[in-house]
Symmetry: D2
Subunit: 117 residues, 4 copies
């Protein structure tokens, strides 16, 4: 079956798909972006095999509607997720590429000194 | 058409429906519940006619799954929303009633000294 | 407390907020819009006090991304919800108004011959 | 960088994470489960590199609330997704395992006769 490297990739991708579809549509503004970033990071960090999550919401894309706020769009999000299965790690990223919120594997690596917990 | 009291009711209910379906399913634990409460409160506070939002997630209902976390269920949420349209205010609440996440109008009142902004 | 007319308004607004935040972000194309409309209509029809739901997703707003599909945005949605509490009915609508997905009370009326079930 | 097999794994996992967090919380009953299954399948089939999606919602887990319906929980869902990148295919599954909605790689294989589009 799948090795630990492949499982780390699998787990990282789940997290990107999950956070995207859980939070897109949330009302947001430059003033509230920070609390939303924190909530996304902390919630996704709970999921299996996650070592690190970094979330950045691009304030510059927030165009105010007639009531003065925006909604979280996928292309506003940059999300880095690092998963670890056994000693295999995967760093994956969600990042805007033109008008598409692209999800990609950034790097896979072994970390002997940091066993799975 | 609808008066300001009815519009305040209408607006309060939108917020309860919105927050429920935006955030149910989010991974949560007693350690992360606070950041999720903050994000829900701040995001819903951006929506039109909102004067106040209070969010409480019941930690005692969080049963750990095999990976040690829970997911936000509707019955974990207590949400109080106060809206104001003109001088009419509506206080509505989402709160567990048995196994159902009930949404209800708590009170409508006039607040002459607090004009709509 | 609130009368049946106000409760019908309250219930209609919950449904609009709910469907918006449940389904925004769903991948969609002109070919799949029909099945998404059906799923939204049937799911919201289950909620309390709903008499009728009509959902229309505007295909003309679907701009293909690099992979050939779109995502459901709030401004693509026209949703009509009719609720009934006792003999009081409320018809509310979500509809694009410029760049904002506006939710409004269309009409409230009494329907003596159609008691609450 | 990652090979096509790993990319197929990555893409399959995104879809499982996406569908889970997009649709969990949707009102559902045995009568409406079929339209929800169709909408999930068709929407996820639009995403990149998807060859096949099968969705099954377990009606037997639907306990009626006081208003006679249920909400979609993760453990009600069985989802099979097959992705293809180049000639590499990945079949992944979301399926209940006790009280946890487990996502797993079922099988990776090469399909020379079915090139990527």
């Amino acid at each position: 079956m799948a090795g630990t490297r492949e499982q780390a990739i699998f787990e990282a991708a789940i997290k990107l798909g999950a956070l995207y579809h859980q939070f897109v549509g949330t009302p947001v503004s430059p003033e509230t972006a920070s609390s939303l970033e924190t909530a996304i990071r902390e919630s996704i960090s709970l999921q299996p095999y996650v070592r690190e999550v970094r979330i950045m919401i691009d304030r510059s894309q927030m165009e105010k509607n007639v009531f003065g706020y925006s909604e979280l769009k996928g292309i506003m999000l940059t999300a880095d997720v690092v998963t670890q299965v056994g000693t295999s790690c995967c760093h994956a990223r969600l990042e805007r590429r033109g008008d598409y919120p692209m999800m990609e594997i950034i790097r896979c690596y072994e970390e002997p000194g940091h066993p799975d917990h």
